[in-house]
Structures are given as structure tokens and as C-alpha cells.
């Protein structure tokens, strides 16, 4: 599905978090959002899912105004994988994946719902732990279960908020391979991510955000030292081997260290006002 974002603005308690965001993502495209902590990545993802209601601007999904859609209808089309999730009470892997059928379930799950759950679990290789409590799983397995839940929604848009940040190497690649597969099957993917190398490797498009604004947008080729340094305040080396782009951080910018001292008070105050858990 095609996503068109126009003039999107959002603020937490009067502090602007997103400023005039404009963006188009095509069907089956894999878009990565990169940028420092607090740049508005999570807020942006939550707006696309209407977990947060933007103050200004419009988000169109296949020409439909998101604002006019019922929450349950959005849930039938948009799957969301949050940054961190912890259930209040224990649930099994099967029940968690089945939860993805929630937008389609009225009273009890149908056999079609169960079949979809089984299919997703087979695909993600979760069958052998289907009756386990998800709190007993490793971080990597739990993340796969959460992805399974989103896939059980059979979404046409997949939103992932730093899906790899707490995973080991193997699970990072596994999770992103699954996600890439979805994009190759015409699911539109938007993912926020900190690892620039992974972003370079998996994405069709990348946007760089800073202070609630899009700094640069384009293909992985926008990952140049000239673009990265002002956004992250870190100087980097960029290497290319064949198709793949490698970003190696060198050191903090001198200028940043000085600026940080001067602006320390203001920045801390701004940060304190932000709602926790957003980035």
C-alpha cells in the first residue's frame, strides 16, 4: 500500500516533536528511518498507526485519509512492532500470535484464524515453542513472536520500531530477512533503526531525521560522511564493498562536545518534558 504523508506535525506537551514532515512510500518499499535518540522516529511511526493523533497534516493510505478510518480497519491493514513490550500477565506463544487476528475476530477465532496462526508460526520457525509462555523466551525468540503477531494481522503495511536493538547478530539478520521478505511480497515496510549498516543493507529508501524534521531522504547512497556528521555529531568513515555500504564511527565531533556544555541545561529540560519511551 502507498503511504502519503503531508505536513505532519506533532508535539508532546507543547514541545514540537515532528515538524512539517512530508513523505511518500510506495507499495512494497522498505523504508528505514534513522536519526539520533529523540529525533522523532517513534513518534512518526505511532502517527502512521494512529496510536498518536497528529495535530496537523494528513496521512493517506492508498488515497484513504487515515483520520477517517476506524481503528479496527487500520488494524486490518497496518501491523506494528513496538520498541519494547512486556505483558502484564503470562500468555503463550500461540495466543500471542493469535492476538494478531484480533481485528478480524468477533467472538471466537474461526478455523481460518487458527490456520493463519499456524502458517505464520511455521514460517517463523516457532512451532516447537508454541505452548510456551512468552516471558520465558529469549529476547530474539520473543521478538520473532511479536513479529508473528503482526504478520498474523496480514497487514499491507508493517511498522517496526527498532526491531533489532536488543538482538544478537543472528537474530538481527533473521528478523530483517523476514521483514525484507515481506517487502518483496508487496508489503510496505517502515522501520526505525539505529544500526546504519543494517539500514544500508536492507532498505530501498532511507530518511534521516533530526529534531523532528527530515534532514535527508533518498536511497542508501545518502549515507555519506557529509550527511551523517551533522545529524549525529559524530565523524564517520564510509566504505563500499560492491553493493554494500559500511559506516564506521570514528569519534565525537569536537564542536559537539563544546556545544553540549553550553546547551546542556536547555537540552536536559527539553528531554525531561518528553514522554518516556519515545525516541
Amino acid at each position: 500500500m502507498k503511504i502519503d504523508v503531508e505536513g505532519l506535525e506533532f508535539s508532546y506537551n507543547g514541545v514540537p516533536t515532528l515538524k512539517n514532515m512530508n513523505l511518500n512510500v510506495n507499495k512494497g518499499e522498505f523504508l528505514s528511518i534513522i536519526g539520533p535518540n529523540g529525533s522523532g522516529k517513534t513518534t512518526f511511526l505511532k502517527c502512521i498507526n494512529r496510536i498518536l493523533n497528529p495535530e496537523k497534516g494528513s496521512i493517506m493510505i492508498n488515497e484513504f485519509d487515515l483520520d477517517k478510518l476506524h481503528r479496527n480497519d487500520i488494524a486490518k491493514q497496518v501491523g506494528y512492532i513496538p520498541q519494547a513490550e512486556r505483558g502484564a500477565f503470562p500468555t503463550t506463544v500461540f495466543d500471542t500470535v493469535l492476538m494478531g487476528r484480533k481485528p478480524h475476530i468477533n467472538w471466537v477465532p474461526t478455523s481460518r484464524d487458527l490456520d493463519i496462526v499456524v502458517e505464520v508460526m511455521e514460517m517463523l520457525d516457532l512451532s516447537h515453542i508454541s505452548m510456551k509462555n512468552i516471558n520465558e523466551l529469549s529476547g530474539g525468540q520473543r521478538q520473532k513472536v511479536i513479529i508473528g503477531r503482526a504478520l498474523a494481522q496480514q497487514p499491507e503495511i508493517l511498522l517496526l520500531d527498532e526491531p533489532t536493538s536488543s538482538l544478537d547478530l543472528k537474530h538481527q539478520l533473521e528478523v530483517l530477512d523476514i521483514t525484507r521478505d515481506q517487502a518483496d511480497n508487496d508489503v510496505t515496510v517502515i522501520m526505525s533503526v539505529h544500526d546504519l549498516n543494517l539500514a544500508a543493507r536492507y532498505s530501498d529508501k532511507i530518511i534521516m531525521m533530526k529534531d523532528g524534521e527530515i534532514f535527508h531522504a533518498g536511497g542508501p547512497e545518502i549515507l555519506t560522511p557529509e550527511n551523517i556528521e551533522p545529524v549525529y555529531d559524530v565523524s564517520v568513515d564510509v566504505h563500499r564493498t560492491g553493493e554494500q555500504i559500511w559506516i564506521l564511527p570514528k569519534k565525537l565531533n569536537k564542536a559537539t562536545e563544546l556545544k553540549a556544555d553550553n546547551n546542556g541545561y536547555r537540552n536536559n529540560r527539553l528531554r525531561a518534558q518528553r514522554v518516556p519511551g519515545t525516541c
Binding site: 513496538p82 512486556r86 500477565f89 500468555t91
Partner: protein, 354 residues
């Protein structure tokens, strides 16, 4: 593992849990029949049967069975069910294992409301004489108890709605409100006359033996349809377990569900407490027991909590009626005695989720 085998495993699992639910139900029915048979007054079985089949329509046995034992059993069943399911819903909408009518201050607010009616509105003193304590206008007492519990709920909900209070804040507020009302009860008692104090204390003992048939009808008419609403929303509650953001992403209107769930579960428990007094721990412990036995799926948790609540309160009441025969112990005292250690046991044993 083959495609069918996960599904088989899942279906077998659900089947096992359903067997548990049906056993609870069967056990409940057996216990209800047993509870008709026993009591401080010994009635021979043939006499009981002739009363139940309608052959005997008068006399002491008839009176005891139809006007004392039956209403008491049915009150225990419906009150236990209502308290347990509303506790389960509170835990679920607040995403907190401490949710219950007790911890949210509803019980204490009701007790204060009753004390207020007895002393200030004078519903409990006029006909008291000797050691017989009479509440001469039970309806005003009950209505006042209900009103005050709804006030306590209202404060918590207003905080949630207008100050965006988190579920944790809501529980802490409930605890605080509970202690304010406890202080209020002490204050009223300090200034009240002896007979009024006796009436207040008598009211506070949770006792399923003081309800009439009409009152049972009223409680049932409220508890059953609202419990069906809970069951209908079980998938919404399931989604809420994964967190507010996830629930929203799955199509749940979280804020509305939380407010509605709180209003309805508070109404159910306030109504029950207003009629039967404080019965602690049923609302808190039963959902935990059920969760421990069959897991957290609300689709099963809610109905099974409903019946397990009935069962637990009926067992407690049958024991309380007979343990120091011919004295009859109010069941609220027993549930608190049993519930607190049981709760501590669950906290220590069932730590996997808090």
C-alpha cells in the same frame, strides 16, 4: 513439527482447560446441593426432599430451606461470581495484579456509605433493642453504600480521564481513598451511639445470609448481563495485556475500554458489597488462582473466574455456617482469614508475572 500438530496441541490445550471449567461447574452444582442439606439446624434428608419437591409447603423445614438456606446459597453463588469476574476485569484493564474491589477502595467506600446512612440518616438505630441489631431501612443503607462506592470510582476515573493517570496511579489512588473512608468510618463510630456502632459493625461483616429473594433477583439481573459484556470483550482485554500501544495497533480503543471496564466492574462490585457487606479477597485471589491453573487467556479466564468465584464463596460460606455450629460465622471473616495467606502464597509461588 507438522502443520496439524501445532493445531492439535492448541486444541488439546483448550480442551483440557474446558474440562477444568466444566469440572468447576459440576463441583459447584454438587456443592450447592450439599449446602442445602447442612446447617445449624439438622433436617432429615426425606424432609428436605419433600420440601424441595413441593410436597411440604409449610413448617420449619420449609421455612429454613426456602427462606434461609436457598437465598443464602444463591447469594453466595452470584456474589462470588460477580466479585471474581469484576476483579479479573479490573486486573486486566489496569494491567496490574493488584486490581480488585478491595484495593480500589470500593469496599471501604461502601462501608462508609452504610455507616453514614446508619448514623447520619438514622436508618439503623430506632428499632435496635437488646442484642438484636436492626437496620430498619436497609434500602437507604444499601443505596448510600452504593453511592459512596461510585464516588470513589468516580474520583479514580476522573483522575484517569482528565489527568491521564496511569493504571498504577489509579490503584494508588484507590488505596488512598480506601484509607480516607476507613478514617471516616472511625470518625462516625467515635461519635455514634452504641446501637449504631453495633449496626455499623454488623453491616461490615460480609454476610451472604441477609439478602431477600428480591435482592438476589436484583443482583442477578445486574451481574449476569454485565458479565456477558465482559465475556464479549475478552479479546479486547487480551489485547490490552500486551500494552496500550499494542492494543491500539490491534484496533482496540484503549481509553474507552479502560473507562468502560472500570465503570462496569466497579458497578458490579459496588452493588454486591452494598447488599452483602465487605467480602475481601474473592475479587483479588480468584482471578489469580484461575490464571495459575489455566493461563491468562481472557476468553477462558473471565467465565472460569465467574464460576470459581461462586465455588470459592460457597465453600467458604458453607464452612462458615457449620464450623462453630450452632453459631453462624459471617463469611467475610472467613474469606479474609483464608484469602490473605492464599494471596501471600500466590505472591511467593506465582512470581512469574510481577
Amino acid at each position: 513439527m507438522g502443520q496439524s500438530s501445532i493445531l492439535d496441541l492448541y486444541k488439546k490445550d483448550i480442551g483440557k482447560k474446558l474440562v477444568f471449567g466444566v469440572s468447576i461447574l459440576i463441583f459447584l452444582i454438587i456443592l450447592m446441593s450439599f449446602a442445602v442439606l447442612v446447617g445449624p439446624v439438622n433436617i432429615p434428608l426425606p424432609e428436605i426432599l419433600s420440601v424441595l419437591t413441593g410436597q411440604t409447603k409449610s413448617g420449619m423445614a420449609y421455612h429454613i430451606i426456602w427462606n434461609i438456606r436457598m437465598p443464602q446459597i444463591l447469594t453466595a453463588v452470584i456474589a462470588g461470581a460477580g466479585l471474581a469476574i469484576s476483579g479479573a476485569v479490573m486486573q486486566s484493564v489496569l494491567r496490574n495484579p493488584l486490581g480488585s474491589p478491595f484495593t480500589l477502595g470500593i469496599s471501604h467506600a461502601a462501608a462508609f456509605g452504610a455507616a453514614f446512612a446508619i448514623v447520619i440518616l438514622g436508618t439503623g438505630t430506632t428499632h435496635s433493642s437488646g442484642d438484636v441489631v436492626n437496620i430498619n431501612n436497609p434500602y437507604i443503607t444499601t443505596i448510600s453504600a452504593f453511592m459512596f462506592s461510585m464516588i470513589s470510582t468516580g474520583v479514580i476515573l476522573a483522575l484517569a480521564k482528565y489527568k491521564q493517570a496511569s493504571p498504577e496511579t489509579m490503584i494508588l489512588t484507590g488505596v488512598a481513598i480506601g484509607s480516607v473512608f476507613t478514617a471516616g468510618i472511625s470518625a462516625i463510630q467515635y461519635f455514634a451511639e452504641d446501637t449504631a456502632i453495633a449496626a455499623i459493625i454488623f453491616w461490615q461483616f460480609g454476610d451472604v445470609g441477609k439478602t431477600s429473594w428480591t435482592e438476589i433477583g436484583l443482583i442477578t439481573a445486574v451481574v449476569v448481563p454485565l458479565s456477558l459484556w465482559f465475556a464479549y470483550n475478552s479479546w479486547n482485554f487480551n489485547a490490552l495485556n500486551s500494552g496500550d500501544d499494542t492494543a491500539k495497533s490491534l484496533g482496540v480503543d484503549v481509553d474507552k475500554l479502560r473507562i468502560k471496564g472500570m465503570v462496569i466492574s466497579s458497578t458490579v462490585s459496588a452493588l454486591i458489597v452494598s447488599f452483602v457487606g465487605i467480602i475481601g479477597f474473592v475479587g483479588l485471589v480468584v482471578p489469580h488462582i484461575v490464571r495459575k491453573l489455566i493461563g491468562g487467556n481472557e476468553m477462558l479466564l473471565l467465565p472460569f473466574s465467574f464460576f470459581t468465584g461462586s465455588l470459592l464463596l460457597l465453600i467458604s460460606d458453607t464452612v462458615a455456617r457449620n464450623i462453630i455450629s450452632p453459631e453462624v460465622l459471617p463469611v467475610g471473616i472467613l474469606t479474609s482469614f483464608l484469602g490473605a495467606p492464599l494471596f501471600i502464597y500466590l505472591v511467593i509461588k506465582g512470581r512469574e508475572y510481577w
